[in-house]
């Protein structure tokens, strides 16, 4: 390679640096370093004249490396990289020494500060000598999309992408669209018709030219990486007979919206679900509402209806978490019962009333106004439901240790509605393995970051949305669906997928195939090639943290722009 021509620029930043650091001294000592052909101070390197100066020097002295000692690289690295680029030098031939935030602004003693600035600059010079030209690369971004799960979340995401012109494969295990929401009649808190909403979504999905709906189908395999997945889908024939058909499609992204499954109420013996005929789950009651038959198994209109919250949620035995939607649904039932059976008395047995969303508190108040009796019980202190005696004017009696009154209360009930919580589907493990994303202790899929990136996962190109990530109500699920869609739309818009020039590489000659790195990578960016017995990095997935580099026993992995040699050089620089 051609010999080094390094230009070193020491920024005074007005007096910000110069006030403490003797910049000229730094300039001098830098000038004497190997490979340095230019070394100058300037008032404000970031200013246009400052950048212009670099460009000029590159032209005149044919500089091929540049060191700028100024503020934090977090401020102006992009600025100077651009300058180099404009002058036709690879932007990665730049190194900055942070002599403001981490030197002049934090030290008083001029001599010591100057010494520090000098050694930081020296380190930068030695490091930049080791730099390699890096190119930002890009991989193809396939527009097609695979959506696993055709509930409200899946359909919403599918429609967004399909409208934008992507081919969408919408897969569901069930034999119908709509998932759990399709079982619901009205939605809290405005009691809008869920059915109308679903009809609208389903009609558009079915009629959409860009959406291919695959019911009774399962995703068998997803391979490849972001922008370039191959997926195999097996579809059982609708009637159950005949041989399953297998299709493969290329997709650029996958959205997992497999939703949740309801808690099995019979697991809590206190409630006698399955034994007592008129103890029903929320979904069973929903069915009664739709059929217009809010009545006991004996066909009588119930005089007393009781609703029990947190069935399977917020307890030590089953699920510690709150299922987020049950409170509002319970309040909805309280009001619906009053409408269907005007004479009925409703009691609502809860722990905390989670009415946190828009219009929720008002809805809670409305349910109080229709004279619902709210009873509070303590976590893990389950109410007990038992058959009433012949003398009682009701079918069942519920014994509650009521915390607001400190009494043990018996509530009469002819019908009890159990607000069953949500839990991860039993196939979530399988799905997680399929698209290799991780699950938390409760089986919910884990997002890449709850606040930075709630719909992405640690596997780039795989997104999660809706109830499969954690219990969610409809608006939040829809929002997540669209968030995932947006992320994909953004990438499609660019056509290609930019990959940062900084990532890890495996030197296959040195790789021993121990596979230690495979496990280590949080982004599953390292693949093992069984034939070659070597691992290699899928650069598109690598986020350049360098964990694998440090761990590789045979030193076969190099982190671009953070190679051992570069960092060694820096160490020598600061210590020389």
């Amino acid at each position: 390679m051609e010999d080094l021509k390094i230009g070193v620029y020491i920024c005074n930043c007005g007096t910000n640096i110069a006030k403490v650091v003797d910049c000229d001294a730094v300039v001098e000592s830098a000038a004497s370093l190997p490979g340095v052909v230019v070394s100058r101070p300037y008032k404000y390197m970031c200013s246009n004249p400052g950048q212009e100066m670099i460009v000029q020097d590159i032209k005149e002295h044919g500089l091929n490396r540049v060191v700028v000692s100024a503020c934090s690289p977090r401020m102006h690295e992009p600025t100077f990289r651009k300058a180099l680029q404009n002058a036709g030098v690879n932007p990665y031939f730049l190194e900055m020494a942070n002599i403001r935030e981490q030197c002049s602004w934090v030290h008083e003693d001029g001599a010591q500060a100057t010494e520090k600035a000098t050694s930081l600059t020296r380190a930068a010079v030695l490091r930049v000598a080791q730099h390699e030209p890096l190119e930002r690369r890009s991989v193809d971004m396939c527009k097609n999309l695979l959506v696993i799960g055709a509930g409200i979340t899946g359909m919403t995401a599918a429609l967004d992408l399909a409208d934008a012109g992507s081919k969408v494969y919408l897969v569901d295990r069930a034999d119908r669209l709509g998932g759990n929401v399709a079982r619901v009649d009205l939605t809290a808190p405005y009691l809008d018709s869920a059915r109308d909403m679903m009809t609208e979504r389903m009609t558009r999905v079915v009629e959409h030219p860009n959406i291919e709906v695959l019911l009774n189908s399962e995703v068998e395999d997803v391979s490849g990486f972001v922008g370039n997945f191959q997926t195999t889908i097996i579809s059982k024939p609708a009637d159950g007979k005949g041989t399953p058909t297998k299709v493969t499609h290329d997709v650029g992204s996958v959205i997992v919206c497999t939703g949740y499954k309801e808690f099995d109420a019979s697991r809590i013996t206190h409630y006698g679900y399955g034994k007592l005929p008129n103890v029903v789950t929320s979904f069973e009651f929903e069915k009664m509402l739709r059929a217009g038959r809010v009545e006991t198994k004996e066909g009588k209109a119930p005089q007393y209806v009781a609703i029990v919250h947190c069935v399977g949620s917020r307890n030590m035995e089953f699920h510690p978490y709150c299922s987020r939607v049950c409170c509002m649904t319970a309040l909805k039932y309280a009001q619906e019962v009053k409408s269907a059976v005007p004479g009925a008395y409703v009691s609502d047995i809860y722990i905390d009333m989670h009415a946190f969303g828009k219009g929720h508190e008002d809805f809670y108040r409305r349910s109080s106004e229709v004279k619902t009796l709210f009873l509070m019980y303590a976590k893990n202190d389950y109410p007990v439901i038992r058959k009433a005696g012949p003398k009682d004017d009701c079918e069942m009696l519920i014994e509650v240790n009521e915390t607001l009154s400190h009494e043990t209360i018996e509530i009469p009930a002819d019908m009890v509605i159990l607000m069953v919580g949500m839990e991860a589907r039993e196939d979530s493990g399988e799905i997680a393995r399929l698209v290799n994303i991780s699950r938390d202790k409760d089986g919910w899929f884990i997002e890449s970051h709850p606040k930075l990136d709630p719909v992405a996962t640690t596997t780039d190109g795989i997104y999660i949305a809706g109830g499969c990530q954690f219990p969610k109500d409809i608006p939040d699920s829809v929002a997540q669906a669209r968030a995932a869609a947006a992320r994909i739309l953004g990438r499609i818009a660019k056509g290609k997928l930019d990959i940062d020039a900084v990532f890890a590489e495996v030197d296959e000659d040195h790789c021993s195939g121990c596979r230690m790195c495979n496990e280590l990578c949080p982004y599953t960016a390292i693949e093992y090639d069984a034939e070659k017995k070597r691992s290699h990095v899928i650069s598109a997935l690598c986020k350049a943290c360098g964990a694998c580099v440090a761990a590789c026993p045979s030193g076969a992995i190099a982190a671009r722009h953070f190679t051992d040699r570069q960092i060694y050089a820096q160490i020598e620089g600061v210590l020389a």
């Binding site: 935030e101 981490q102 934090v106 949080p522 943290c545 440090a550 953070f562 160490i571 600061v574």
Partner: protein, 144 residues
């Protein structure tokens, strides 16, 4: 004049380096003895970096990463955390005082904390005096 120890600091880009910058923007003064080297994640810090620094004449090495749970790469700092005890054991074998190498968590909003850590460490290392390992280790390595 008093002995001025040389300390090499390896800081993760996302929390600790930002925290160090914050110390600057907030003009919090601290000892000038630490020379910072930026890495993307504390998980990138190869034990050999530490050894290299010590053999090249550093009197101390400071390693900073995001607080547990804060890692930009979700769990890189845990990897460092697991690596650290082994490293310490190794250093102990070389007879390097425990206080010369230190792992700390510094978040992007903890400029003050970073300054305090640097000051504290500088004092401790100064108290220990120069690190003898440079020569010992050099010979030791040469024999291999």
């Amino acid at each position: 004049m008093t002995f001025e120890p040389k300390i090499v600091g390896f800081l993760c880009n996302w929390c600790s380096y930002t925290g160090a910058d914050l110390a600057g923007t907030s003009r919090i003064h601290y000892a000038p003895n630490v020379r910072v080297i930026r890495v993307m994640c504390s998980a990138r810090i190869d034990p050999t970096f530490v050894l290299k620094a010590l053999t090249d004449g550093a009197d101390g090495v400071l390693i900073c990463g995001c607080h547990p749970g804060d890692c930009h790469y979700s769990e890189g700092n845990y990897k460092m955390m697991r690596r650290y005890p082994l490293l310490k054991k190794l250093l102990a074998d070389y007879g390097i005082e425990d206080e010369r190498v230190r792992l700390e968590w510094v978040s992007a909003s903890e400029g003050q904390r970073f300054a305090d850590i640097v000051n504290d460490m500088t004092e401790r290392v100064r108290a220990l005096g120069p690190c003898s390992v440079k020569t010992d280790l050099a010979t030791d390595m040469a024999e291999r």
